[in-house]
Amino acid sequence: MPTNVVQIVVFAILTLMTLGGGLGVVSSRNLFHGALFLVLSFAGVVGYYVLLDAGFLAAVQLLIYIGAIAILILFAIMLSRGLMSQRQSQRNEQWWIALLVVVLTFVVLAVVLWQVDWPVASDQALASPSVAISQLGQELLGPYVIPFEVASVLLLVALVGAVILARETET
């Protein structure tokens, strides 16, 4: 099979995983199942990144989203007593308006995206993307060092904040 076809097939499978997982997340009655669907969706995105020649990001996605965030959510669900057994509706009363709005939004977005003439780079450039991880590191510690540091502070604050919020209070 030509590369192109392989790519399309892979893309289709990944899309199925991602969007299907997403739909499962938002629609499953059991929250635990929803979390597992979330993992599926994240895995699809990992594939996307590989397909887009962003290997490092794929690894990061795998480690952080699946390895950390999804697991965290699973733990939270399992630790929250009585959440898993809830069998009643997981949708609130405005779900149908939400559905309508979301569908319309998707349609509008699709139209808008179609209409825009994206400034895609030249074929030559497309053929040789810069993929070196070392370069990424230099970018992060070079021009983007301040956002980088801010992000680290953010993480620290989030860490402390989460601990304080989740702490058992005596009173």
Binding site: I97, A98, V102, V112
Partner: protein, 716 residues
């Protein structure tokens, strides 16, 4: 000997340091404090006398031209104001007298102030601190080379005067019962009166000083008295007079206050509320002399632009002096308080000094100032000794149980309770007699020479003018004053030292300690021989020593007056007559009798006893109206006009707000506004329900809005 001039700043500084040392460090130790004070003034005396000696030896270039030490002090605009010290013959003459008399008084005080008090009394150290500060002020005044430093010292003395007159003006009722309540009240009133009264004069002097400063840009005596400066001052017209005359009169106003001249003399008799050494120190020998010193120092300003004989400022000095000399003496006739008699005597004698200066004779006025300082200090200290003896007698009588103590209205100052003390207090009596003879003017005591020089001056001026003008009246007032002076002194010594004791206290009175009588004897010597300083038969040495200090101004001339046997003879006769007359009349006065003068003079005596009702007049004309005015102004401010206006503005604002509110309620609110409001309220109540508190509702709204915007973007 020139070396001594460099020590001049120390003369006022040493007592000042003594003051500071006592206040800050040694005030808990009475003995040490008094020793510091005495040591300070003694040291100052030594330096002063060194300076005097140096001046004598240096000859005319110092005696007349003076020695100066300028110190840059105050930047004023584009110029710098100098202060500093100066010594000339005049200053040296004062420097001979002032610290020495002060020393005598300090030593005396050490004995006097111990009277019946426990050694820990904090007032003891306080007293020595005050008198040290006082001495610093007086000495600073004498050595000042400019009017400002003089004024500063002058005011420092005023302050000390206030503090010392008010020395008994407070007490702790539970712990200080030896001070009686009436005394506290009197002292309090007297202190305030002294300060405020002299302050009136001071403000005049201050104005004169500021004016002088404005016109000349300097206050240094030497600069002011330059002929061109005087001419410049004379050429400016102010209030219809030459400015120089205005300034001179203003300065004289200061002197009137300080030297207790009519009409600002009222404070001095009351000032006798202070401890007796203070009366001697401040209100006899030195401080009141400051006014005379000022006039003498400023004499060129008084004369500038006129002949000496008809300079208006000078004439004022002579007139006020004559009035004060005469009337002061008359009041002295009718007083019972031994110190008050002396106080009026002081006023009267200061009048003599002013007379002398008013006649344009620097030396005559200052000569009398110097001799008077010695014998009046002597008299006051002597009277203090008498009072001291009387109080001891009173205590002794109380101890013997012979009188009902404390409630018989006994006053140790009242001459009518005394009598026959010459036997009980001989070491007080003899110096006191020397002082009396000097004051009355009996040959060869000091007062004779100095008073005579003034009268001779007036007499000669009268002879020169040949008409019954001012000099005649001055002479007449002086001669009559001398008669009355002799009369009241005769009365006093007769009441105090002759006759029989008229009270238990006088019976038991005894001599004062040596620390008190010692200074009396020393001063008595000066009362006896002090007149030699300018005796005509010695060639008027004082005249040569200091007469020329104002020569440089080219307006004041020193001319000696030849000794006039007629004048001297007349005044001696008058003095003897008065003294013997007074003595004879009162020698046998007995307790409880109506006194002879009162019998003879009737209502006039009452008038004199009440000091011509001047105090009452001031109370009525000045003090009450000012206090009343203050109250009214306050009411104007707080109750009637200013503050109520302010509050009114506030109230009007509030009222306006209230009215608007009312209008709103009636017209606008209930109709238009309220309807609208209700509508909005209903709408709001409906709209409020969108605030469900649910995040997802809000987010949905956001999403819908974004969608609508996107749609708009797409199709418009």
């Amino acid at each position: 000997m020139e070396f001594f001039f460099n020590l001049v700043p120390l003369i006022p500084l040493i007592p000042l340091l003594a003051f500071a040392a006592i206040v800050l460090f040694t005030h808990r130790n009475n003995r040490l404090s008094s020793n510091i004070a005495i040591g300070g003034i003694a040291l100052s005396t030594l330096v002063s006398w060194g300076v005097v000696l140096a001046t004598i030896l240096a000859g005319e270039h110092v005696q007349v031209e003076g020695w100066e030490l300028p110190i840059p002090w105050l930047p004023t605009g584009t110029t710098v104001f100098n202060t500093g010290f100066a010594v000339d013959g005049f200053t040296a003459a004062m420097l001979f007298m002032v610290p020495f008399v002060c020393t005598m008084i300090f030593i005396y005080s050490q004995g006097y102030m111990n009277l019946g008090q426990p050694n820990q009394d904090p007032r003891y150290a306080r007293f020595f601190a005050y008198i040290s500060l006082f001495a610093a002020g007086m000495l600073g005044l004498v050595v000042a080379d400019n009017l400002l430093l003089l004024f500063i010292s002058w005011e420092v003395m005023g302050l000390c005067s206030y503090l010392l007159i008010g020395f008994w003006s407070f007490r702790d009722r539970d712990n200080e019962q030896h001070i009686d309540e009436a005394q506290v009240k009197r002292a309090r009133a007297a202190a305030l009166k002294a300060f405020i009264t002299t302050r009136v004069g001071d403000v005049l002097l201050f104005s004169g000083l500021a004016l002088l400063f404005s016109y000349t840009g300097t206050l240094t005596f030497r600069e002011i008295f330059r002929p061109d400066m005087l001419e410049h001052l004379g050429s400016i017209s102010l209030l219809g007079m030459p400015a120089v005359t205005v300034i001179a009169l203003l300065a004289f106003g200061g002197a009137v206050g300080k030297s207790a001249q009519f009409p600002l003399h009222v404070w001095l008799p009351d000032a006798m509320e202070g401890p007796t050494p203070v009366s001697a120190l401040i209100h006899a020998a030195t401080m009141v002399a400051a006014g005379v010193y000022l006039v003498a120092r400023m004499l060129p300003l008084f004369v500038a632009g006129f002949e000496t004989a008809n300079a208006p400022a000078l004439q004022w000095v002579a007139v006020i002096g004559a009035i004060t000399a005469f009337f002061g003496a008359t009041i002295g006739l009718a007083q019972d308080d031994i110190k008050r008699v002396l106080a009026y005597s002081t006023i009267s004698q200061l009048g003599y000094m002013m007379m002398g200066l008013g006649l344009g004779s620097l030396v005559a006025g200052i000569f009398h100032l110097l001799t008077h300082a010695f014998f009046k200090a002597l008299l006051f200290l002597g009277s203090g000794s008498v009072i001291h003896g009387m109080e001891h007698g009173h205590h002794a009588a109380g101890a013997h149980g012979q009188t009902s103590q404390h409630d018989d209205g006994f006053s140790a100052n009242d001459m009518k309770t005394m009598g026959g003390l010459r036997h009980k207090m001989p070491r007080t009596f003899w110096p006191y007699m020397a002082g009396t003879l000097a004051l009355v003017g009996i040959v060869p005591f000091a007062g004779f020479w100095s008073k005579d020089e003034i009268l001779a001056e007036a007499f000669q001026r009268w002879q020169e003018s040949g008409a019954l003008g001012l000099p005649f009246w001055v002479w007449l007032a002086g001669t009559l004053g001398a008669l009355i002076t002799a009369l009241y002194m005769g009365r006093q010594i007769a009441l105090v030292f002759w006759g029989e004791p008229r009270h238990e206290a006088a019976t038991h009175a005894h001599e004062s300690p040596n620390s008190m009588t010692g200074p009396l004897m020393v001063l008595a010597v000066f009362a006896l021989i002090g007149g030699l300083a300018n005796a005509p038969f010695l060639g008027s040495p004082l005249h040569h020593f200091m007469g020329g200090v104002h020569e440089a101004s080219e307006v004041v001339h020193s001319a000696t007056v030849s000794f006039n046997f007629a004048v001297a003879g007349l005044s001696t006769v008058v003095a003897l007559l008065g003294l013997l007359g007074g003595w004879a009349i009162y020698r046998n006065y007995r307790a409880g009798e109506v006194e002879p003068f009162q019998r003879w003079l009737g209502p006039i005596f009452t008038l004199l006893r009440n000091k011509y009702y001047v105090d009452e007049l001031y109370q009525l004309v000045i003090i009450r109206p000012v206090v009343w005015l203050a109250d009214q102004v306050f009411n104007f401010d707080n109750r009637w006009v200013v503050d109520p206006l302010v509050n009114l503005v506030g109230a009007v604002g509030r009222a306006a707000a209230d009215i608007s509110l009312l209008f709103d309620k009636v017209a606008v609110d209930s109709g238009l506004v309220e309807g609208t409001a209700k509508a909005f309220n209903a709408f709001g109540g409906w709209l409020r329900q969108t605030q469900t508190g649910r995040v997802q509702n809000y987010l949905l709204v956001v999403a819908v809005t974004v969608l609508m915007l996107l749609g708009l973007y797409l199709y418009l």
